[in-house]
């Protein structure tokens, strides 16, 4: 692809786009002006529906359809999910740092389409500096008459508020995020009702990922057909892949959906550090099953459908590479420790199960396990799966179950070898 659409700095080679003047010079906020002055909210929703844009936060739900689900009650709210807490995901931060106005413009268009007059940008607590920056940009937009009352002389008014979380994985889950904005303990709500019916303060609410929103101005500007021409049929548009682990050149790669693992890893990122053999891929941070680095997997296109066909999920596309030196039981211990630490504690299987898996994995990795422990680990993981209140509980077992299935020896070798290196238990 010849141009970068979400991280435009790569295209123009300048950081200037983060400045409002430069963004405006390049045609920024024309899309927002167009929807507010020329389009009805329904027309915007129809256009986004037609574009085939799907949520970039992980679930891949069609964005336009989500917007059309809002219950017929007011006030409504729109919320940008910039919690970005999946391990190995660092795309939303870069969008907000390098191309903040495109994201804000997307959020504003979303608010217009949803007939919301208040928009929130929910950021993880560690983004406090970034939020300072964004806040000054929101003030700039007010000064330019693009936020506030009667924007462009229309009936439409909009305020944007930033909200900092206190650093919790669960607050990336939309209903826990809403609880957090309301000042409550970050725990997921029962669904149904969904946020489109009872969201923030029990009012109809759209929650979209930051990257999803950054796509929206492009769709307005250049049309649904143009957007559909990027990527493949069901997974269209550009997508930022967050590549980390044993990649020679880790970082964010904006590619059309449908690019293969091989193209991303070997063509764009120049392969594996030290030219070692690639052993496994975690395609969606800690939360999706591990994939073995087979030819079939490497030639799999990065789309929501294809990655799921080979047994995992594209998710937020936080692709972590593990080379041949990595012990998968160690990697599973790391993801499990993360989930144990981040479990909100609301439902039993996740609260107790992640803790148990963590204990088992430490025992195994310390060489203190017996032959039954790997089996027990698998059983505990399956015991959690399918019983949790929110999807994050199921995520906690992905790496463990797939790791045991694909790399069973990595787990049992510790038993055979006796005590390996001692791994400290986390708090």
């Amino acid at each position: 692809m010849s141009e970068f659409l979400l991280l435009r700095h790569r295209n123009i080679g300048e950081e200037g786009i983060a400045e409002l003047d430069e963004y405006l010079r390049l045609g920024g906020f024309q899309a927002f002006r167009k929807v507010v002055t020329q389009m009805s909210p329904q027309q915007v929703i129809d256009l986004v529906k037609a574009s085939g844009l799907r949520g970039r936060g992980g679930a891949g739900f069609p964005t336009g359809i989500k917007w059309s689900f809002l219950s017929d009650r007011f006030p409504r709210y729109v919320v940008a999910n910039s919690d970005e807490s999946e391990p190995g995901t660092f795309k939303d931060r870069e969008i907000m740092e390098r191309n903040p106005f495109q994201f804000l413009e997307g959020l504003m268009i979303c608010a217009y389409a949803s007939q919301a007059h208040v928009a929130y940008n929910y950021c993880r607590g560690e983004f406090w500096q970034l939020v300072d920056e964004l806040q000054s940009k929101v003030i700039q937009l007010h000064d330019h008459g693009m936020l506030g009352d009667r924007i462009f002389g229309s009936e439409f008014s909009l305020q944007i508020h930033h909200h900092l979380g206190a650093g919790a994985y669960i607050c990336g889950e939309e209903s826990a995020l809403l609880e957090s904005i309301e000042g409550k303990l970050g725990q997921p709500r029962l669904k149904p009702p969904f946020p489109a019916d009872r969201g923030l303060y029990q009012q109809p609410t759209v929650v979209n990922n930051t990257e999803t929103l950054a796509n929206v101005p492009l769709i307005i500007e250049r049309g649904a057909e143009w957007y559909r021409s990027i990527g493949v049929e069901k997974s269209c548009g550009p997508k930022i892949m967050c590549l980390s682990g044993h990649a020679k050149n880790p970082g964010n790669y904006e590619v059309p959906l449908g690019t293969t693992f091989r193209e991303l890893i070997f063509d764009l990122a120049d392969g594996i550090t030290g030219d070692k053999r690639l052993k496994a891929i975690l395609p969606s941070g800690a939360s999706a099953p591990i994939l073995p680095a087979t030819d079939v997997v490497l030639d799999t296109p990065l789309t929501y459908e294809d990655v799921s066909l080979v047994g995992s999920q594209l998710g937020s596309a936080s692709i972590i590479l593990l080379d041949e030196t990595v012990d998968v039981s160690w990697a599973a211990m790391k993801t499990t420790r993360f989930f144990k630490h981040e479990s909100c504690g609301k439902c039993t299987p996740c609260r107790e199960g992640t803790y148990w898996m963590d204990r088992l994995l430490h025992r195994i990795n310390n060489g203190q396990g017996d032959h039954e422990d790997a089996n027990l680990l698998g059983e505990v993981a399956k015991q959690i799966t399918g019983k949790c209140l929110c999807p994050l509980g199921d995520f906690s077992t992905s790496a463990v179950i797939s790791g045991l299935e694909l790399f069973h020896d990595d787990f049992t070798q510790h038993v055979r070898n006796g005590n390996g290196s001692t791994v400290e238990l986390s708090e």
Binding site: A168, I170, L185, G186, Q187, L190, K340, H341, E342, S343, C344, G345, K346, C347, T348, P349, R351, E352, G353, T354, Y355, W356, R359, L376, Q383, G386, K387, C388, L389
Partner: protein
């Protein structure tokens, strides 16, 4: 009536109201789906994951909407791919639920195993052991062996005080949030909550003092493990060792149903009350109890109880036997020539009051209710709230007017239920709240839930209600009112709401009013109910917030307020006969030359003045009945053996009646009730047998299945019976004349108010409550405080009614300007009514 929905749970076809959750539908056909976090009184949260079941819905043709059938002609079912929580999914037509499949059985075993990985398994020393859902469900669904290494268990604090009344054992807590949801949804006081996350998730209290709520004890009942315990019962006994005696709470006019759990105690050397537990009566207290009722029972077991009759002889008090003392009293009564003044407390049982009235009447004497400071008992008999009314269930068709009462302090469970009606928080199929109007001269806790708050000045209570009647009846014929509702937008709005309402209940109190004032208010309220057509049916009528538990019973038995001071009432009496009344302690005086006889629990100031003191049995040692404010006659049973020679009050009066040859002697409390049924209007048909009748109640709690925990909830001892009102009996009750009270004027108006936690004789003898009892104080408006140069916490001298009080000051915006709120029973004599006073700051 909600639409019925039919579904199939395993083999059972079940028909339940739309909106019912699967778990409740299953319970209705005795299919106990195991639960921990779910509680039928609370909104479901689906947290514990214990109730997972297979759920399917009929497959429908997309085009026609018709159900699809398989080759056998059966409906095709679309089974959900994952197990569903039965506690969160409402039923739908044609739904299929499977609760006994291998997948479901396995899921239950899995969840129990997860819970036990962090549970200490200290059942042998746990207070909940024996009535513990976790224990029970582990036995029925858990695995017999543990796969979790014991050494890897987390060890947490076992004794975390959430205040001095409730303790948390962090190891036992399974994070089900029943306690926090109870406080949040049902009480509206989220003073406890979760802190941290994951395995560190813990219950903490946010209030000072800790767990600052009148309902805290209930959380220990609904806790499905032994994580929350009360300071009263902690390590006190095992549930299976205790006897359950059905009883009625003696504290306020609600009449909460309780169980007294008793056990032999080696330390005390006899049987003692180990705990007081709520007993289910949905229309009265549901399954709840306020902390005063739960912890304030220790007066009965107090070591200063009277146990032997005492006679004053030559200035000395000597112990006497009943055989000596009763003839002595009878002789004095016989010699009094009808100059007998009888004063009976409102706390006595119906049997006591009836026998007291019979005796004194037989002697040609006169009786008086003590303290007898509230009027309207006769009107309650005429237009009282309709039998079968459940305050919490009142919905959008009802207006509830609360006037001159701080309900939260005076009748906690009614406050709880009215709040329910006005918020519809918690689990309820009816989501349409009743319309609540709170009328008072100051802020009360109920204001938060009111649709309309009417503020009047103390003294304007009656006229405010009259103004509403005036606005409704239009012509205002015969109604004198200083307040014009037509030109008062708020009052006219309330009047319109009353006119539009299908049902209306008026809950009236006596704040700021004396006997005649509150009687006038009751009449004004009755007139409003009659004028708007809201008498004689369920959800309609007058509900009095009586100052005591059996004030209504006293009215019904003919022991009525005298409307005068005790010294006026007893003037000229040769014998003053008192029962459960302490006028001397409240600053009244008895005639010097009268022979004074009293039956009492304690050596009160009046007992010290008496010539004969007769030891009475406390309610825990005897049987009897109380009549609550909604005219519900309820029976209590003996839980403990008699103390010393103490006798039930009714028996004392019956024996005196016999000795005096005034009548026959009923052989027991039940026989007294038969006499009451024969003699007292509207009590006909009431008998101990019928008071013991029960009918099925929802939800099913307690009992042997311990489904929601606890063994004490189950009510098999009676729901009580409500006496009919004249309106219900078809009488056309006519409005009466109202004489509004006059108001004194002075520097300050001192208004006595009622606190739930006072320093009266019952709570002072319950040491466990001491930290919650306020030091004597008065409450001033900020403006007045500034003017008088008094700050919060300053000590002041209050001169009123010729008496000086020294107390601490609280300053707030709640009392109106010029008004000093004076909590009753905190210090010194009772303030008989609203009075004028002067205030002086004391130098510290």
């Amino acid at each position: 009536m909600a639409d019925q929905v039919t579904l199939k749970i395993d083999g059972d076809v079940v028909s339940v109201p739309a909106g019912t959750l699967i778990v409740d539908a299953a319970k209705s056909v005795s299919n106990d789906i195991p639960v921990f976090c779910y509680h039928p009184k609370l909104d479901p949260v689906g947290m514990c994951r214990m109730c997972l079941v297979e759920v399917g819905t009929p497959l429908r043709d997309r085009e026609s909407g018709e159900p699809e059938l398989d080759e056998h002609g059966d409906q095709k079912i679309n089974w959900m791919p994952k197990l569903q929580t039965a506690c969160t999914v409402p039923v739908s037509a044609g739904m299929r639920v499977r609760t006994a499949t291998q997948q479901v059985t396995r899921a239950r075993k899995d969840v129990v195993e997860f819970l036990l990985t962090s549970h200490p398994l200290d059942c042998p020393v746990c207070d909940k052991g024996g009535e513990c859902p976790l224990q029970n469900l582990t036995m029925s669904h858990g695995s017999g062996e543990s796969r979790y290494l014991f050494d890897e268990k987390i060890q947490l604090q076992k004794r975390v005080p959430l205040g001095e009344l409730i303790f948390l054992d962090r190891e036992r807590c399974i994070q089900c949030a029943r306690c926090t949801r109870f406080q949040d949804e049902l009480v509206g006081e989220p003073v406890i909550g979760f802190d941290k996350r994951g395995r560190a998730l813990q219950i903490v209290t946010f209030s000072e003092p800790g767990f600052d709520s009148h309902f805290s004890g209930n959380t220990t009942d609904i806790c499905p493990v032994g994580a929350l315990t009360t300071a009263d019962f902690r390590f006190g006994a095992r549930p299976w060792e205790m006897q359950h005696t059905p009883s009625i709470c003696p504290h306020c006019t609600v009449g909460c149903n309780t169980h007294l759990n008793t056990r032999r105690s080696g330390m005390v050397g006899g049987t003692v009350i180990k705990r007081v537990m709520p007993r289910q009566n949905e229309k009265v207290n549901e399954i709840w109890l306020c902390d005063k009722g739960r912890f304030g029972h220790h007066f009965a077991g107090s070591s200063d109880r009277l146990t032997v009759p005492l006679v004053r002889k030559d200035g000395r008090t000597i112990e006497q036997s009943w055989e000596h003392v009763l003839p002595l009293v009878a002789a004095k009564l016989a010699a009094a020539d009808g100059e007998v003044a009888g004063i009976a407390g409102e706390r006595l049982s119906n049997e006591d009051l009836f026998c007291f009235q019979t005796l004194v009447e037989g002697l040609g004497g006169r009786t008086m209710q003590w303290p007898g400071r509230m009027g309207g008992g006769d009107l309650v008999q005429q237009v009282g709230v309709g039998a079968g009314t459940d305050l919490a269930q009142l919905g959008a068709e009802t207006v509830i007017l609360v006037v001159a009462s701080d309900l939260a302090e005076e009748a906690p469970l009614w406050w709880f239920k009215v709040r329910q009606a006005a918020t519809k928080a918690g689990a309820t199929l009816n989501k349409h709240p009743a319309s609540l109007v709170v009328a008072n001269a100051r802020d009360t806790k109920l204001d938060r839930y009111a649709n309309h708050i009417v503020r009047y000045s103390y003294g304007d209570e009656v006229q405010t209600v009259q103004a509403l009647t005036h606005a409704i009846s239009g012509d205002g014929a015969g109604i004198e009112t200083g307040i014009d509702a037509q030109h008062n937008p708020l009052l006219s709005e309330v009047a319109r709401a009353i006119e539009a309402a299908e049902n209306m209940i008026i809950i009236y109190g006596s704040e700021g009013l004396d006997f005649s004032g509150s009687g006038a208010l009751a009449q004004a309220c009755a007139n409003l109910l009659i004028a708007s057509g809201h008498v004689g049916g369920v959800g309609n009528g007058l509900l009095p917030v009586w100052p005591s538990n059996n004030t209504q019973g006293a009215w019904d038995m003919g022991v009525r307020p005298a409307g005068m001071s005790v010294s006026e009432f007893t003037s000229g009496a040769k014998v003053v006969l008192l029962a459960g009344a302490d006028p001397v302690g409240d600053g009244e005086s008895l005639p010097e030359d009268a022979f004074v006889v009293i039956s009492e629990l304690f050596k009160t100031d009046t007992a010290s003045r008496a010539d004969v003191v007769l030891p009475a049995q406390a309610f825990v040692e005897r049987e009897g009945s109380y009549t609550s404010g909604d005219r519900r006659v309820q029976r209590f049973y003996p839980a403990l053996p008699a103390l010393g020679d103490a006798m039930p009050d009714w028996n004392i009066f019956v024996r005196l009646t016999a000795l005096l040859g005034l009548g026959t002697v009923p052989a027991g409390a039940g026989a007294v009730m038969r006499q009451i049924a024969a003699d007292v209007p509207r009590y006909d048909g009431i008998s101990y047998e019928r008071l013991a009748d029960v009918e099925e109640q929802w939800p099913h709690v307690g009992g042997r299945d311990s489904y929601y925990g606890g063994t004490a909830f189950e009510n098999s001892a009676g729901l009580g019976l409500q006496t009919p009102t004249l309106a219900e009996m078809g009488h056309q009750v006519q409005p009466g004349n109202v004489e509004p009270p006059s108001v004194e004027s002075g520097e300050f108006l001192v208004v006595p108010i009622t606190l739930l936690y006072d320093r009266g004789s019952m709570l002072l003898r319950s040491k466990i409550m001491h930290q919650r009892l306020p030091e004597p104080y008065i409450e001033l408006n900020v403006v007045d405080a500034e003017r008088a140069g008094v700050g919060a916490g300053d000590r002041v001298a209050l001169r009123v009614n010729g008496h000086d009080w020294e107390m601490a000051t609280r300053v707030s915006t709640s009392p109106p300007e010029g008004v000093i709120l004076f909590p009753r029973s905190l210090a010194g004599p009772l303030l008989p009514r609203t009075m004028v006073a002067s205030l002086r700051k004391l130098e510290s």
